[in-house]
Symmetry: C2
Subunit: 322 residues, 2 copies
C-alpha cells in the first residue's frame, strides 16, 4: 500500500477535486462494471453521487437494510437519491443480521458479526453475482489513521467479501475520498449538489445502532435505541454539533413509576464538538435542552427510567461506546 | 402501628424538640440498657448524640465497619464523636459483608444481603450479647412514607435481628426522629451541637457503596467507586446540593488510551437538588465543574474511560441507581 497523502481543508478546491476524481474513476473502470453500497452517511453518499457522475449506468448502488438503521432510513435514502436521478437497489437483509448477532455481547464480536454478515454474506454475494470487478468505498483519511493506530481494525475489503486475493485477479477497490477528512468530505458533498440534510448529516457508525446497544443486540433493544435516537436527533439537530447519539445501556437502574419501584433502562446521550472525530469534547448544551431530552426519552420510550449525558472528552472516551 | 404525625419544618422548634425527646427516651429506658449503630450519616448521628444526652452510659453505640464505606470513614466518625465526649465502639466486619455479597448481581438481593448481614449476623449478635432491650433507630419520616408506598421494603428491626417477636418480650425500638424529614433532622443535629460537616452532610445510602456499584460487588469495585466518590465529594461539597454521588457501572464502554482501544469502566455522577429525597432535580452544575469531574475521575481512578452526568429528575429516576 502506498502512503496516502492527506488533502488539508485549506488546500481543498471541491469543484476541481470532483472533476479530477470523476476523470480518475472513469479511466480506471473504463467499460467495466462497478458496484457500491450506500449507507446514507455523508461519506458513502458523496462517493455514490460522484461516481454516478463518472460512471452512470456502469455503477450499481445497493442499500442493504440490516434492520439496524434509524427510523425510516432505508426508504428515506432511496427516495432522496431517486430525486437526484440515482437508482438505489434496496435489499432486505434484516433476518441475516439479527441471526448473526444472536448471543453476542462483546463489542468486538458484535462489530465482527456485522462486518462478516455485510461483506461475506450479503455484499459479497451481490458483488459476485453482479460480475462487477470494481468496488467503490467511502473510506476517509481518519479511517486510515485510526486503522494504522490500531483503534479500528484493518479492512481488506476483498478478503472480507470472500474473494481470495491470491487466487483471483482483476478485482479493484476504488476509494475516491480517502485523502479527505470529514469536513473535506462535507465540502465535496455540498459541491456535488447533495442536499444540506446529507452534507451536514452527523456521522453514523458502520455497525449502525449495534454500536448504540451495550450487551446482546435484539430487535427489541434496537427498537428502544431507535426511538431514543429519533428524539435525540429531533432535539439536537439545530445545535450544529458534530455528532449526537443515544446509547442503550445493558445495566438496569432503579427508577420509580406511579409511586412503585421500577427496575428500568438507562439511555446515555452523547453530543460532540469535533472537527474530524479524532478528538472531541461534549457540547455544552443548555440545561433546558438536557431537561427536555431526559423528559422526552423517559416518557416516550417504554422502559426507560434514567437518562445521562456524557461529560468525558475523547480521549479517553471514544465517540461511540461500543 | 399507630399513625405517625409529621412535624413540619415550620412547626419545628429544635431546642424544645430535643428537650422533649430526651425526657421521652430517658423515661422509656429508665434504668435499662440501650444500644444503637452509628453510620456517620446525619440521622444516626443526631440520634446518637441526642440519646447520649438522655442516657449517658446506659447507651452503647457501635460503628460497624462493613468495608463498604467512604475513604477513612470509620476512623473519622469514631474520632469526631470522641471529641463530642461519646465513645463509639468500632467493629471490623468487612469479611462477613464481602462474603455475603459474593455472586450477587440483583440490587434487591444485594440490599437484602447487607440487611441480613448487618441485622442478623453482626448487629443482632451484639444486641443479644449486650443484654440491651432498647434499640435506637434513626428512621425518619421519608423512610416511613417510602415504606408505605412500597419503594423501600418494610423494616421490622426486631425480626431482622433474629428476635422472634412472638416468643420474646421486652425488646423495644425507639425512633426519636421518625416525625422529621431530612431538613428537620439537620436543624436538630445543628441544635444538638454536631459540627457543620455532619449536620450539612449529604445523605449516604444504608447499603453504603454497594448502592453505588451496578452488578456484583467485589473489594476491587468498591475501591474504584470509593476513589470516584472522594473526587465527587471534593468537587461538589461547596455546591450546597442535597446529595452527590458516583456510580460504577457494570457495562464496559470503549475508550482510548495512548492511542489504543481500551475497553474500560464508566462512572456516572449524580448531583441532586431536593428537600426531602422524595422528588429531586439534577443540579445545573457549570460545565467547568463537569469538565473537571470527568477529567479527574478518568485520570485518577484506574480503568475509568468514561464519565456521565445524570440529567433525569426523580421521578422517574431515583436518587440512587441500585
Amino acid at each position: 500500500m502506498t502512503k496516502i497523502e492527506e488533502i488539508k481543508l485549506e488546500a481543498l478546491k471541491p469543484k476541481e477535486f470532483i472533476e479530477e476524481k470523476i476523470k480518475e474513476t472513469s479511466s480506471i473502470v473504463g467499460s467495466g462494471l462497478a458496484i457500491n453500497a450506500l449507507s446514507g452517511g455523508v461519506d458513502s453518499a458523496a462517493v455514490t453521487l460522484l461516481c454516478h457522475k463518472a460512471l452512470g449506468e456502469k455503477l450499481k448502488t445497493y442499500f442493504i437494510d440490516n434492520g439496524l438503521m434509524r427510523q425510516d432510513e432505508p426508504e428515506y435514502v432511496v427516495e432522496l437519491f431517486k430525486k437526484l436521478g440515482v437508482h438505489v437497489e434496496l435489499l432486505d437483509a434484516k433476518k441475516e443480521f439479527f441471526n448473526a448477532l444472536k448471543g453476542l455481547t462483546d463489542p468486538e464480536e458484535k462489530r465482527e458479526a456485522i462486518t462478516q454478515t455485510f461483506y461475506k454474506d450479503v455484499f459479497g454475494r451481490i458483488v459476485k453475482e453482479s460480475g462487477a470487478k470494481y468496488l467503490l468505498q467511502g473510506t476517509n483519511f481518519t479511517d486510515v489513521e485510526e486503522t494504522i493506530a490500531g483503534i479500528k481494525r484493518q479492512h481488506n475489503i476483498l478478503e472480507q467479501i470472500g474473494i481470495d486475493t491470491e487466487k483471483t485477479f482483476g478485482y479493484k477497490v476504488i476509494e475516491p475520498i480517502i485523502q479527505l477528512r470529514k469536513t473535506g468530505v462535507r465540502e465535496v458533498a455540498k459541491a456535488l449538489g447533495l442536499p444540506e440534510e446529507i452534507y451536514k448529516r452527523p456521522p453514523f457508525p458502520g455497525p449502525a445502532l449495534v454500536a448504540r446497544v451495550i450487551g446482546e443486540v435484539t430487535p427489541e433493544k434496537i427498537e428502544t435505541v431507535r426511538q431514543a435516537t429519533k428524539i435525540v436527533e429531533e432535539e439536537l439537530s439545530n445545535t450544529g454539533a458534530f455528532q449526537y447519539l443515544a446509547i442503550l445501556h445493558e445495566d438496569r437502574v432503579t427508577g420509580i413509576r406511579d409511586g412503585k419501584r421500577d427496575f428500568g433502562l438507562q439511555i446515555e446521550v452523547r453530543c460532540w464538538e469535533s472537527k474530524d472525530a479524532l478528538i472531541g469534547s461534549p457540547t455544552r448544551l443548555p440545561y433546558e435542552t438536557l431537561d427536555k431530552l431526559a423528559q422526552r426519552i423517559s416518557t416516550e420510550v417504554p422502559g426507560v427510567v434514567s437518562v445521562t449525558y456524557n461529560i468525558t472528552k475523547k480521549p479517553p472516551s471514544t465517540i461511540e461506546a461500543v
